[in-house]
């Protein structure tokens, strides 16, 4: 079931009244079965796979916890990593790796002539998210930061919890599991806050991301036919689209959790208002960045190694972050560009050279960070490295060509509204507005208006899937 479907609207309207009428124990059961139904609606065939991963994670974590012998602990950890990462590689990266193997042997002249056929597996929804969440759980147990859940039901609810199951945020057991044990009560103020967050999420997804996706599609299909302004605008709009799509999903997840009484941490903190590439990454997909930091960067030695090795660790972590997004060279390049910029900025900071940039006005720094992110984002969208370069060529050679049909108020008005909203939040004025009497009067019709609008749109046409589902 998608957040942007009619089914979800009905699903949540059925769940909420029953949920708050139930006892603490039954609330857990309800969440389990509703989450299971939520996932089954996406594609029922993946449910056994999901539970296979849960079972492996549960029992290997119990094994790590129960056996005092370090060797056994390590063995259980490796079994867990092998199976969970193995499934991820099989479903997500197998075709890509086979292609690399073919290209490599082709290059050294040892190739079979036939290009390997695609395995054709569908990427199980949410696999990149729940696999990382499961690994974090096991590693935390291994690092003795977490006592594993004894009951499989309690453990699987942690991974299955529907708001964050399919596209994150990647939550840690320590953040979520304890919340299931508290009885949740209806709280109108909290529900209104949740509703506000959900409204923002739907606004981003339905009113900004989806129309942009339709408008830029022809340009990305054929960048050579369009002039440089159209290519550049498409790139700008795609950057906005990917942000609105993913942060929109996170907002709906956080808001839904909030209504039900769960605290789900923020996944985006206005990344396009950051003043450096490093800060952009700290504010973008926060749960993934912190996962990578805790389970890759630190495992590699973090900053307790030589400066050169530290730089390498930072670079590699960012590349892995890029590769997590998709099995294509474009994602590796995207990760590498950002890794390189992160390393450069870190080098400047370590040398205390960043003070030379202090006199630069903040808007200029924001513009720099955004433009750098935007140029990299091209790799994120393009099907191949080649088509990315075609588009860059069009932009930087000021090429002539067709005009894209993107310059319309229907896109730019909502984008400007969002930018205004985020700027007000960044300069901490938004909370004053939210506390004002006028806003209190208008917030309900505003939330209702956006939600009705989205409901109407979803009823008439199936909205595109959330972009991050493919990860």
């Amino acid at each position: 079931m998608l957040f942007n479907s009619l089914q979800f609207f009905i699903f949540i309207f059925i769940l909420i009244p029953i949920f708050f009428q139930s006892s603490s124990k039954n609330q857990k059961r309800l969440l389990f079965y509703f989450s299971l139904y939520f996932y089954s609606c996406l594609k029922i065939v993946f449910v056994p796979l999901l539970f296979f991963s849960f079972l492996i994670t549960h029992y290997t974590s119990l094994g790590i916890y129960s056996f005092p012998n370090k060797l056994y602990k390590k063995l259980f950890l490796y079994i867990n990593l092998f199976i969970n990462l193995g499934l991820l590689v099989l479903f997500k990266y197998a075709d890509f790796l086979r292609n690399i193997e073919y290209d490599f042997f082709n290059l050294i002249g040892l190739s079979n002539e036939v290009h390997p056929e695609s395995l054709g597996f569908i990427l199980p929804l949410g696999i990149s998210f729940y696999t990382f969440q499961a690994i974090a759980y096991t590693v935390d147990v291994y690092r003795q930061k977490l006592i594993p859940e004894k009951k499989f039901f309690d453990f699987s609810l942690f991974l299955l919890f529907f708001p964050q199951l399919v596209a994150g945020p990647i939550m840690r057991a320590s953040e979520l599991i304890h919340q299931f044990n508290e009885k949740k009560y209806w709280n109108t103020d909290r529900v209104l806050i949740g509703l506000g967050i959900i409204t923002l999420g739907y606004f981003k997804k339905t009113i900004i991301a989806d129309p942009i996706a339709n408008l830029i599609q022809p340009i990305y299909s054929n960048p050579l036919h369009y002039n440089w302004i159209s290519n550049l605008t498409a790139l700008f709009l795609f950057t906005i689209q990917i942000y609105c799509d993913f942060s929109g999903y996170s907002d709906i997840a956080i808001g839904t959790g909030k209504i039900l009484g769960f605290e789900i941490p923020k996944n985006f903190e206005r990344p396009f208002l950051a003043t450096s590439v490093t800060m952009t990454w700290r504010r973008w997909h926060i749960s993934l960045s912190s996962w990578l930091k805790d389970y890759v960067y630190i495992t590699l030695g973090g900053n307790r190694v030589s400066p050169l090795r530290n730089m390498f660790n930072l670079f590699l972590t960012t590349v892995i972050g890029g590769f997590w997004h998709g099995a294509n060279w474009t994602f590796i390049i995207w990760g590498s560009i950002n890794g390189f910029l992160n390393v450069v900025e870190k080098y400047f900071m370590d040398k205390n050279w960043d003070r030379f940039f202090d006199p630069i006005p903040k808007p200029m720094k924001i513009l720099y960070s955004f433009l750098v992110f935007m140029m990299g984002a091209h790799f994120f969208r393009s099907d191949s490295v080649h088509s990315t370069f075609i588009s860059y060529k069009q932009i930087f050679s000021f090429a002539d060509g067709m005009d894209g049909e993107m310059f319309s108020l229907k896109i730019f008005v909502p984008v400007l509204v969002l930018i205004g909203y985020e700027v007000l939040e960044e300069i901490k004025i938004l909370s004053n507005i939210k506390n004002s009497n006028v806003f209190n009067y208008l917030k309900l019709p505003l939330y209702a208006g956006v939600l009705i609008l989205c409901f109407m749109i979803y009823t008439v046409v199936s909205s595109p899937q959330f972009y991050y589902f493919q990860f």
């Binding site: 089914q7 065939v45 569908i122 108020l409 229907k410 019709p445």
Partner: protein, 393 residues
């Protein structure tokens, strides 16, 4: 105080929605809104086309992207009426109007400039309007014929005419319903919110069926088929192992089927024998009136029974007939009895061929729709042209 708050709530809500819809123009609603813009309310036959329209209509799922224009009299196309020339008229519903194709691609517009044996050039006039049934057509013709110089009239009755007739008379025979229809028509034309609400309400019923009832039906049928329980529906010839295999195949991406592949239907799609389709009396009455109206004005009239769905064409191509054809077949009997000149286009479906030369109706129909594509309109045109040559040479 509470009433005041409620009032503010609704005023703000409605204003917000109306303004927001007008700014963001969601593709799905914009498609319906633009269609509403080129229609007008008519007291005699309920709906007509607005004159002097010139818009671009893009389907919200990119099924088509067309130009839709009307001339000064509200006929499809841009050419002004020239009564100094003899005219060939086409009348019918959306198929005739050319839903889903640009002005220049409707079969009627392509008849424009037809030259007969005496070197006389004819102007073609497209009088088609979507959702027109025979009664609306008869009324429109009565009103329009005196203002035109029609010599030849092609009338395209359609499968859905019985439903159109029922809708038409439910409003015309009941002043209250007619008034309600008028107000909702005007409200949805001028208020974006009203239109969006109306479209949502219509789609909600469909979505509910698709999202909730169909899966229950499928689960019910699958369960009964697996368990081999007595049932009155046909099960696929599949064992439990077959179901399991099909379950496993869900792990893999379905291969992309090439564009314009011939349609694949089940073995029961085409019936062996036709059944009579109950046609309302008003259809017969109006059809007779249309014929006598044409005769009275010395206009040669020919009826065309067109397969307006891919299923009918598919079955016709196989030498069989589809249940959707029953309407045409029943009407055909009436036309033969009344000695009315007609052409059954179903007999020409073997001419529907794809680029590879295969008999294939797929490229001739808009996907998920009963209307003809550009090539579908060409197919109709070829047959009409032959008939026109016969009549005018």
């Amino acid at each position: 105080m509470k009433i005041k708050q409620l009032l503010i709530f609704f005023i703000f809500l409605f204003s917000f929605l109306e303004i927001a819809l007008r700014i963001i123009k969601p593709d799905a609603f914009e498609f319906y809104r633009l269609q509403k813009q080129f229609h007008s309310y008519n007291d005699e036959y309920l709906v007509d086309l607005e004159p002097n329209v010139n818009i671009r209509l893009t389907h919200f799922q990119n099924v088509f992207d067309i130009h839709f224009s009307t001339n000064e009299k509200g006929y499809r196309g841009t050419k002004p009426i020239d009564n100094t020339k003899p005219q060939i008229g086409c009348i019918g519903d959306s198929v005739t109007m050319g839903f889903g194709v640009s002005d220049e691609d409707t079969f009627c517009s392509e008849l424009d400039g037809f030259i007969d044996s005496s070197e006389t050039s004819y102007q073609s006039i497209n009088l088609g309007v979507d959702a027109y049934g025979p009664s609306a057509i008869e009324r429109k013709l009565s009103e329009q014929i005196p203002t035109l110089n029609l010599k030849l009239l092609y009338y395209f009755p359609s499968n859905g005419d019985d439903i159109d007739e029922a809708n038409f008379y439910s409003k015309m025979n009941n002043p209250f319903s007619k008034k309600i229809f008028k107000y909702q028509f005007l409200a949805s034309k001028y208020s974006y919110l009203f239109l969006a609400t109306k479209v949502t309400q219509e789609q909600l019923v469909y979505r509910f069926r698709e999202t909730f009832l169909q899966p229950i039906d499928t689960a019910y049928i699958t369960y009964h088929c697996i368990m081999d329980i007595q049932k009155d529906f046909k099960c696929p010839n599949t064992s439990i192992l077959g179901y399991f295999k099909s379950y496993l195949s869900d792990f893999k991406r379905a291969p992309k089927s090439p564009k314009n592949q011939p349609p694949i239907f089940g073995p029961d799609e085409c019936q062996r024998e036709n059944e009579e389709h109950p046609i309302p009396e008003s259809v017969y009455v109006s059809t007779k009136k249309i014929i006598s109206l044409a005769n009275k004005n010395n206009i040669k009239i020919v009826l065309f029974l067109a397969p307006i769905d891919i299923e009918t064409a598919y079955c016709s191509q196989k030498g069989k007939s589809h249940k959707f054809y029953n309407y045409s077949m029943t009407l055909k009997k009436f036309l033969i009895k009344e000695k009315i000149d007609f052409i059954d286009l179903n007999e020409y479906t073997s001419l529907m061929k794809d680029e590879e030369g295969r008999i294939n109706a797929r490229p001739y129909y808009i996907i998920g729709d009963g209307h003809y594509t550009e090539i579908g309109n060409k197919w109709v045109l070829d047959i009409i042209k032959k008939k026109t040559m016969e009549i005018l040479h």
